[in-house]
Symmetry: C2
């Protein structure tokens, strides 16, 4: 899966991400990956649920993976572990 069909969830309003996913599908992608870390994981699930219940009911969730990433920052001696989620959508 190339980087061009991945939507990273950040701190924008939820509908921005719903629209980003829908645009990818409308442009011909048949697989889109929604990725999030930390507190944004809940919003990633919201994005997928809003999209498939309200806007594109033909989307299916193919695969969900969770994991841990070690983030390093110049301010901290130890890396910080953060949980991640990847939700693979198919149309």
């Amino acid at each position: 899966m190339s980087r061009s069909n991945i939507v990273f969830i950040g701190r924008k309003p939820i509908l921005n991400y719903v629209l980003a996913c829908m645009t990818l599908f409308k442009n011909g992608q048949d697989e889109v990956m929604v990725k999030a870390r930390g507190r944004s994981i809940s919003m990633a699930v919201d994005v997928v649920e809003v999209m498939r219940n309200r806007y594109m009911t033909d989307i299916t969730v193919n695969e969900i993976n969770i994991g841990t990433e070690a983030l390093t920052s110049p301010d901290r001696p130890q890396p910080t572990n953060v949980s991640t989620i990847e939700i693979k959508l198919h149309r």
Copy 2:
């Protein structure tokens, strides 16, 4: 799956839930389901990741499902939709 091997994630500290899951496994369950709604979804992923990285490395994630529940409350005329996650763990 009976209700006795389900851990519902709420607002307690994360290690309470890690311990709850570990206790179920230690008592002989070979499958434990972690469930959460709304903002607690991120913590459900944290619980699973902390447990399998730090305390019980023989746990595998069998299945992850996401969905939507309509919550009704006496204060509101319309039901509120909330996202849900279910993470099925196997030992």
